[in-house]
Structures are given as C-alpha cells and as structure tokens.
C-alpha cells in the first residue's frame, strides 16, 4: 500500500507540474497595416505632440507622448523606429514643471515648481523679448512637436529664433536660424504623418483671458492648413489629423468658477452680492459687469486677490465692485468664449474638409473631449473625466494631458487610422499609463 501511495503521490506531483506549464491562448488575427506604410512615421504638432505636461516639457512627459505611444503600436504592423528629442537623464526635468505637493484644508491642491534642468541660455530678441534656450538635441527625429507653436507660425522663417523648443531641434543657434517649421519637418522623407497643429491659434488667446494674445485669422488659418497638408502629402504620404478641442472643455477654464469664488467671498462677507469682471462688449471694448457662470475664470487666478484694497480705486476691494473688476487677463468672459468657439469651429471646418479632400484619417478631438466633459469616459475599469486632478486625463496645468490621457488620445488616433486605411494597429493598454501623481507613497 505504501508503494502505491508514494508512487501515485509522485505521479500526481509530476502531473500538476506538467499542467502548470499548460497555457491557455486566444488566437488573434495578425494585425495589419492596411493600405498605409508606417516605416517612417513623423508627428507634427505643438506641445500636445511633444508630450508637454504639468506646465512643462520634461523627460517623463516626452516618454509618454501620444506619438511615441502610437509609434510603439505601429511597430507591431511593420512600423519603423521612432526617435524623440528626449532630454537626457541628467536633464530629465527639462523646462521644469509643476508638481503636486499636497492639499489645503479646503481641498484645493498645492503645487510647487520643479526647477528647469535643460536651460542652456537666454537671449533677448529685439522687438520680441526674451527667449529661453534649451540644451540642443541632435540626432534622428520623428517627433517634431514644438510647444507653443501656432499654425500661423509654420512658414515664418525667423520662428526658429523665437521659440526655444524649436531652436533646440535646429542645428543653428538663435538668432541665426532661417528654416521654417514646415520646411524642417518635411526635409527628410517619411511615409506617414500625424498632424495636430492649430490648437494654439485659439488656445493662447483663451488662456490669456482674451487679453494677451490674438486669434489667428480664419482665412490665414485656412490658407496655411491647406498649404501644410498639401506639402505633407506631396509625395503621396498618408496620415492622420486631429481637430482642435473646444477650449472650454479643459479644466483650465472649469476648475476655479465664479460660483465658488463668490461663495467663498460670501462666507467672509454675507453682504457681498456679486463678482465683477472687465468683460468684452459687442463693439470690442471692455467694461465692468457682474460675473455669471458663463464667464470662465482661469485656473491660475490668484483667488487671494479678491477683496484686497485697490489703491488706484480708493482702496475699494478687488473683484467685488464695478470700479474694481477682476482683470481681463484672468477671465475668459462670455463674449470671449463665444468668439473663441466661433474661431475654433471655423478652424475645425477647415481641418475636416482639407483632410477629407486628401483622404486622411481624422481624429475629432473636439467632439471626443466634449463627450468626455459631458459624460466622462470609462476605460478598463477606470472612470476618467475632465475634472482637474481627479479626472485622471488632464495634468496639473489643466490643459495638457497625463500619460493616461495621452494614451487615450493615442488610441483615438489609432482607431481613426485603422478605419481610414483598413488597418488593425493594436490599441495601447491605457491602464498601464499613470494619471496625476499624488505626493507620498503607499503605506
């Protein structure tokens, strides 16, 4: 009996080990590139394309840029290597960025500026101002994202002297550069491109509260978009473009609200009735009026200014009287919102019609982000939303995305590309990318 038992014991143990090696597998069809060729993919765009996040360009953001995520998936269908102008490990903090350090008692976040690590120099360009220059990048380049660039600037020859992020990619030093952005990105042959330009043509006006920048003229936008797409597709290259999000769909304009500020004011002074802003009139002039929920306060508005005596107005408290309205630069008021939306809609009409005429894939970021704002987005068991910090998509600057947000965008591009070119590029795993980093470790 003992022999039987021990023999069976061994058999059983061996059997279990054998079974442990059995693998359950699901057959998946081999992914296909369809009618597109991804052997050299380039990405054209602004800060979103560069991987800008938390108010800065730094290594971790670059490594999680949506073009790099798309390219990694393209490599499963024959895509080539994709090289980004990464900051090196010693200068990983790049331009510097915002870091969350904790929360105030009222739940509002506390942030801290991480110091820049890749600043090379700063020069003054006459008639323009100061330009911060970064450590030069040399080598292969597939991701041409340049933070801050407008479509309006892509054919402007001196631009390489005015934007430190662009200057960093060029061989020459500011102020000697004369290569336009469009010529630079198209200089070397490529087979596929993504193009997400145009955001800054509206966004920089909006983030300045309609006070520090101007909207790009609609006709200029149309002319340059046509020009750039014609050039990008001049050798029959295929590609994908994205529309421009509604600027009001980002937390930068939806986190600090008129209602919340007024409630805080009334807590201290129950007699306070309203906030006043310096709002745009239909004739283009500005005058003070009562703020409503349709006026959007920017994320970076220092709310502590409210109620402070304004010397120029006889010591009246800031923000709560018609004589001391909140400055224009802190508010995208209702009229400015409408103006911005009108321009964005016109830009998007151009983008969609030009892309359609060239047979390009279109990721409609405008519709997508408005849907996220209205309904949220559930991916892999995570509830994502447009809420600041807790929403998981937007980084600490309230405009640019977290790695998880960029992964979502990458997948939307991939879906559009797959549809247009009958391809089946595998989607990226969104849950493996992080949201906003919270201070501290797990206990």
């Amino acid at each position: 009996m003992k022999t039987y038992k021990s023999y069976l014991h061994i058999l059983l143990a061996a059997g279990l080990l054998g079974l442990g090696a059995c693998k359950t597998s699901i057959n998946t069809p081999a992914p296909s590139r369809g009618t597109a060729d991804f052997s050299r993919y380039i990405s054209v765009g602004n800060s979103l394309t560069a991987g800008f996040a938390d108010g800065g360009l730094y290594l971790e953001g670059q490594q999680n840029s949506y073009p790099s995520i798309i390219a990694a998936q393209m490599q499963k269908v024959g895509g080539g290597t994709f090289t980004q102008p990464l900051f090196n490990a010693n200068q990983a903090n790049g331009s510097g960025y915002l870091k969350l350090t904790g929360f105030n008692a009222d739940g509002t976040p506390k942030t801290q500026q991480v110091q820049p690590a890749a600043v090379r120099d700063q020069i003054t360009i006459p008639g323009f101002g100061n330009v911060v220059l970064f450590t030069k990048y040399t080598g292969d380049l597939n991701n041409y994202g340049v933070p801050g660039i407008k479509l309006q600037q892509i054919t402007f020859a001196p631009y390489g002297n005015l934007n430190g992020y662009f200057e960093r990619l060029l061989p020459g030093n500011s102020p000697t550069n004369t290569t336009t952005y469009l010529d630079f990105v198209t200089a070397k042959p490529y087979t596929f491109f993504t193009d997400w330009l145009g955001n800054n043509d509206a966004l920089l006006y909006a983030t300045s509260g309609g006070a520090g920048d101007v909207l790009t003229d609609k006709a200029v936008f149309s002319q340059l978009y046509n020009l750039s797409i014609t050039k990008l597709t001049s050798s029959g290259q295929k590609g994908a473009v994205a529309t421009i999000p509604d600027v009001t769909s980002v937390p930068y304009f939806n986190t600090v609200t008129v209602g919340a500020i007024l409630a805080a004011v009334q807590k201290a002074n129950p007699a306070a009735k309203a906030l006043y802003i310096n709002a745009l009139n239909s004739d283009g002039s500005h005058s003070a009026r009562v703020a409503t929920a349709a006026d959007l306060i920017i994320l970076t508005f220092p709310t502590s200014m409210i109620g402070q005596p304004v010397a120029a107005a006889g010591g009246l408290p800031y923000g709560v009287t018609p004589l001391t309205p909140i400055d224009d630069k802190y508010v995208l008021d209702q009229g400015e919102v409408a103006l911005t939306q009108d321009y964005v809609n016109a830009y998007n009409t151009t983008i969609k019609s030009v892309a359609s005429s060239k047979g390009l894939a279109i990721f409609d970021a405008y519709t997508f982000l408005n849907n996220v704002k209205a309904h949220g987005l559930v991916v892999d068991g995570v509830n994502l939303s447009s809420a600041y910090i807790s929403g998981g998509i937007f980084s600490l600057d309230g405009i640019h995305l977290t790695p998880r947000g960029y992964a979502v965008v990458a997948n939307e591009f991939i879906k559009a590309i797959n549809k247009q070119y009958n391809a089946s590029i595998p989607l990226a795993n969104v849950s493996s990318y992080r949201g906003v980093k919270f201070p501290g470790n797990n206990n």
């Binding site: 279990l16 442990g20 991916v379």
Partner: protein, 396 residues
C-alpha cells in the same frame, strides 16, 4: 444588502473521486460516503459504513485578450485545493444511518497579477466556502429512502484590486478586502430503487446566505490622499450561495457496467449585485454596488464505470454546463461562459476495505468576447481548468 457571490465559475463540483470520474454523476447512485452531498436520501441505502477523504487540486488557467489588441494576459499558476471528507455510519441492517460531510461546493482562486489591463476590476481573488453537513437518512421501504442534512458554511473572501490613484513613485493604490463569515442551509434528498434495475435520486441543496461582517478593508494609497481612504476600516458583504436541485439516474446494464446521468438546476438569480458596505465612508470611498444579475444555470452530466477486474474500476464521463453570467456582466472574477468538461477515473481496491480512487478532469470554458457594462473592460476571456484528484475510502 450588498452581496458578493461565487459565479458559476466558482461552483466546484469536486465531491468525490468516484463521482468525478463518472462525470460528476451520483445523485442516483450508491457509490460511497459522497452520497451525503449528492443525495442524503441515498445514505441509508449504502451497503456499508464509510470514512473517506479526497482532494482535487485545481488549476484555473484564464487568458484575456483586450479588444483591438494582440495582448494576452494570463492568470498566474495557483493551485486551489478543494477537498472532501465524509463519514457514514449505521448499525448493520438498521433502517437508518448518520453521517457527516465536510466539503467545498464553492470557491475560487484567481490571480491576474498587478500589471494586467483589468487590474482596476480585479487583481486577485481567493474565495472559499466550506460546508459542514451532519446528516440523517432513513430507509422507509426497500425501494425508498429519505435523508436530510443541516449545512453550516464557513465562507471567506480575500480580494485585491488596484485603485487608479498614482503615488509619487508612479504606482497605483491597492484595495484588499479580506474577511470571513458563516451561513446556514440544508440538504435533503430521496432515493428510489425500481424493480427494473434503475435507481433514481432527487436532491435539493438549499441556498446558503452567508454574511461577512467586519472584514478588513485595507486601502494602500499615496499618503497625501490616505484621509480619503480612512484606515482602519471594515466592510460587510453578503454571500448568497445558490440552491441546487438535482435529479440523477443510475443503471447497471451488466455486472461490469454502471451508467449514470445527472441534471442540476442552480438558482444563480440570487446573485444580483457585488456589493461592499464600508464602515467608514468618504466622498471618495463610497459603498459599491456592481450589478451582476445572474441567471439560473443548468448542468447536464453523464458517466460510466467499467469493472475491469475484481479490483480495478475504470471510469469516464462528461457534461455541459450553461453559464449564469449574462452578456455584458462577464468579469475577471468569474470569466464565465458555457462550458463542457471531460473526466476520467481509476479505482483500485487496495484491500477488501480500502479503495484508492484517482480522477482527472479537464474543463473548457468557451471563449467569450464581451464589454463589461460597468468597467467597459472589453475583450475575450478563455479558460481551461485542469483537476487531478485522489481519495482514500475505508469501508466496512
């Protein structure tokens, strides 16, 4: 009442090596002490007294392929250990017998790891239900016996999932819900011998409502938001283990052959929600109620035993089980679908009083492509289960 429950994937039908070998049939048979579970009504008809125990190490191997990708995420190799122990005794030629069964009718061990796409739904799950069933059976006539048992369940759950909160090192938070509880139920059956050699068994195992009270709710998150996940914390959850109604037939076409069929009907519709009620809530940490809305399931089983020599028995069987999980409700905790299984067994009489039985089962859970309505986790699950097993039965 919030509830967690064991999906069909967690109904464990490993109740005796002789019965496993014959495709999990036994409601209408008189094989051994496992009748305590299969049919307390049959216990009084058993020809002998029994003390027996067995174990069926179970390997649950699931694979998940997220929609639109070529990725494959597989469960880690972990061995669950369902077991059985039965004792049946009655005076020789008495009309009654008493018995005690200890068995594991529900349980599950799934570990998807911390890096897979569905980590926010589930990382790992270890569920156990151990039933203790004292039983009394009475032979009313030579052709009819009845029996019933009281069921005490000790249940436990240990579940981990990732929390989508990134800490400063880039890691997710993690929730662990761990606790035990108990519940009560009963098991009753009837056994009929017909004069044409056919035996018939009817059995009803009741629902067992089990409540986990004050289980540990452990949340590990970035220290700056730990106040949103207060610690220590506890949870309460109900585990409604479903009832099973069975009918089984047995027949001996010859001295050497025994054939059997069983049909089970499991009332899974008691499983409406997966819920966790936390003792301390915050705006971030709310009680959760995830819809499950299971439907009732059927099992169709058949098996045969061949007496090769006076000492050696060869068994085989198989069956088909319909899923309890509706479309849109498939989750990694129970990646369920319709399934078939095949079994084989060997029995050897070591001595006149001692049986050694070995069994092997292969279960294939059909691949199922789903988007979960709650998590939007979208993809294809496919599962194979491998279950060897061994038991010893002493009878006199």
């Amino acid at each position: 009442m919030p509830a967690i429950a064991f999906g069909q994937g967690f109904q464990v039908n490993l109740h005796g090596q002789k019965q496993i070998g014959m495709g999990h049939t036994g409601t209408g048979l008189l094989q051994d002490g496992a009748s305590i579970l299969f049919n307390p009504g049959a216990v009084a008809m058993l020809p002998q007294n029994y003390v027996q125990a067995g174990m069926s190490p179970l390997l649950f191997k699931s694979d998940f392929n997220p929609s639109g990708t070529t990725d494959q995420f597989r469960t880690k190799s972990k061995v669950a250990t369902p077991f059985t122990a039965y004792a049946v005794w009655g005076p020789k030629d008495a009309r009654w017998k008493v018995g005690l069964g200890v068995y594991t009718p529900f349980g599950g061990l799934t570990d998807w790891g911390q890096d897979w796409v569905g980590k926010y739904s589930l990382e790992s799950l270890n569920l156990k239900a151990i039933y203790f069933q004292p039983t009394l059976s009475y032979r009313v006539t030579d052709f009819l016996s009845l029996g019933a048992g009281f069921v005490y369940n000790h249940g436990s759950v240990d579940l981990t999932r990732a929390i989508p909160v990134t800490n400063e090192s880039g890691q997710d938070g993690q929730a662990q819900l761990k606790g035990g509880g108990h519940g009560f139920g009963w098991n009753a059956g009837a056994f009929i011998k017909t004069n044409v050699g056919l035996t018939i068994g009817l059995d009803y195992r009741s629902k067992v409502n089990t409540t986990v009270k004050n289980g540990d709710a452990i949340f590990k998150v970035a220290s700056s938001i730990q106040p949103n996940f207060p610690q220590p914390n506890t949870f309460t959850a109900a585990i409604p283990l479903p009832s099973t109604s069975s009918i089984g037939l047995g027949y001996r076409p010859s001295d050497k052959w025994l054939v059997a069929v069983d049909v089970n009907y499991t009332k899974w519709d008691v499983y409406k929600t997966l819920g966790f009620d936390y003792a301390k809530n915050t705006p971030t940490l709310q009680d959760t109620y995830s819809p499950r809305n299971y439907k009732n399931g059927w099992s169709y089983r058949a098996g045969a035993e061949y007496k090769a020599t006076s000492k050696l028995f060869v068994r085989g069987g198989g069956g088909y089980v319909t899923t309890a999980v509706r479309d849109g409700y498939v989750t990694p905790e129970a990646p369920d679908a319709n399934r078939y299984y095949l079994t084989a067994g060997l029995g050897y009489k070591l001595t006149k009083n001692l049986d050694l039985d070995a069994s092997f089962e292969y279960e294939h859970i059909n691949s199922r492509t789903q988007t979960n309505i709650e998590s939007q986790l979208s993809g294809t699950f496919k599962t194979n289960v491998y279950i060897p097993g061994l038991s010893l039965a002493y009878h006199w």
